[in-house]
């Protein structure tokens, strides 16, 4: 009987350990990067976006997105160089977490107008939104919003 109780106790502990492991593992930190080539047509104008994006998700539910590249219109060309800082909560549904952009830092040379930037990243500072993060194959990660994918990036 003692053996049985001891075994049950060990198994319960092991189960809790595995559960905790997966809870933390689901927020495994990562760094991934991707080249984004985007074509935007708005109000009769066409813009081409060429951005290199680095995404970091840290263990403390904080993360950052480093974006550098160009935004070219038919008449104008802009430089993009900015960082977005965000936090996430524990997944509310499997892989889906609530996120919020807490800050945006623009480099002095970043001259991309906000009217165009909102088409690149519609989420704004201080407004909560949901993201889904999925592992893909051995080393890729899909990051998507509720209705559309943001990135498929390669884990660095």
């Amino acid at each position: 009987m003692k053996k049985l109780i001891l075994t049950s106790f060990i198994m319960i502990l092991l189960s809790i350990a595995i559960y905790v492991y997966f809870i933390f593992n689901s927020k495994e930190p990562f760094h991934c990067d991707v080249q984004i080539l985007s074509h935007i047509t708005k109000d009769g104008q066409k813009f081409d976006l060429n951005l290199h994006t680095d995404i970091l998700l840290l263990t403390n539910n904080k993360g950052a997105v480093y974006i550098i590249g160009t935004l070219r219109g038919e008449r104008n060309s802009y430089l993009v160089s900015r960082r977005l800082y965000f936090t996430t909560n524990s997944p509310v549904i499997k892989n889906i977490s609530q996120a919020i952009i807490t800050d945006e830092k623009r480099h002095d040379r970043d001259n991309a107008p906000n009217e165009l930037w909102k088409y690149v990243i519609p989420e704004v500072v201080g407004v909560k939104f949901y993201i889904e993060v999925k592992n893909l194959n051995k080393n890729a990660i899909l990051i998507q919003g509720v209705s559309n994918p943001y990135y498929i990036c390669k884990r660095s």
Partner: protein, 269 residues
């Protein structure tokens, strides 16, 4: 009392299993194995409960009838062994009374029970309501069944533990497998030369969507003729021309590492 019985219930809490020379608590939690002479000695005593037995009678029945020689000292030693055993089982060691210069006597509530259902007898003995005998027997049979099951589990405890651990490991392996596998639900659509094309959800693509995707592959110069890519495609809000988003990711395959790099192509209208 009769010698035909294999077990005795002493003071309603200690079982003496004569055949196996075991003195144990009635819940089988704690048991003591007696020496052969001590077992025979206790058998004599319980079979003559509350009756003074002479030293000579005891020596004869316990030793001499078995072709062994003994002495008063040996008898005292085995009486001592029995007292110690009773004491270890929480019983008063004076359950065996010394009759000075004569012999010994046991003074206890002793019931003869069958070996197969000691619990049944014990429980029945505690139940004096004769109007409910049938119910009591049925209840006791059930209880004995539970006890037998418990006994079966306890007697195979190592097997039970091994089985539980095995089942647990299998269950954990399943959990690990389902958690650690790619949690994607990408649907393989087709192959285009060296490229494999997937949909980023479980929806199949319409012919129009496939056409659009092929145009993007061509426009963005994704070279499926010479390089291997996994291409992931999704069309959002396809019915709404002003809000339509085409997303295509081309990840260059590297057999060892997964992907070398990923490029994303997005068209917003």
């Amino acid at each position: 009392m009769s010698h035909d019985y294999f077990e005795f219930l002493i003071n309603k809490k200690i079982i003496f299993d004569k055949e196996n020379r075991i003195l144990m608590l009635d819940d089988h939690q704690y048991s003591i194995v007696l020496s052969k002479p001590a077992s025979r000695l206790l058998d004599m005593l319980v079979s003559h409960n509350k009756i003074n037995l002479l030293r000579g009678e005891l020596i004869k029945s316990v030793w001499e009838d078995y072709g062994l020689s003994s002495s008063n000292a040996s008898l005292n030693n085995h009486i001592s062994e029995l007292r110690k055993a009773f004491e270890n089982l929480g019983e008063n060691k004076n359950i065996i009374i010394t009759i000075p210069k004569i012999g010994f006597r046991i003074d206890a509530d002793i019931q003869s029970i069958t070996k197969l259902s000691p619990e049944l007898i014990r429980i029945t003995a505690q139940t004096h309501d004769e109007h409910n005998v049938q119910e009591t027997i049925a209840y006791n049979k059930f209880k004995v069944g539970i006890l037998q099951l418990k006994s079966l589990i306890m007697s195979n405890i190592n097997k039970v533990i091994t089985s539980v651990i095995f089942i647990f490991i299998i269950a954990i392996s399943f959990v690990l497998f389902f958690y650690t596998k790619n949690d994607d639900n990408f649907t393989f659509l087709s192959s285009l030369k060296k490229c494999d094309i997937y949909s980023i959800d479980d929806r199949a693509l319409s012919s129009d969507s496939l056409k659009t995707m092929n145009e993007i592959i061509k426009t963005e110069s994704i070279d499926c003729s010479h390089e291997s890519f996994d291409i992931f495609y999704r069309e959002d809000r396809p019915e709404n021309f002003n809000l339509k988003i085409n997303f295509l990711a081309a990840c260059k395959k590297n057999n060892k590492l997964g992907y070398e790099y990923c490029n994303n192509y997005k068209t917003l209208n």
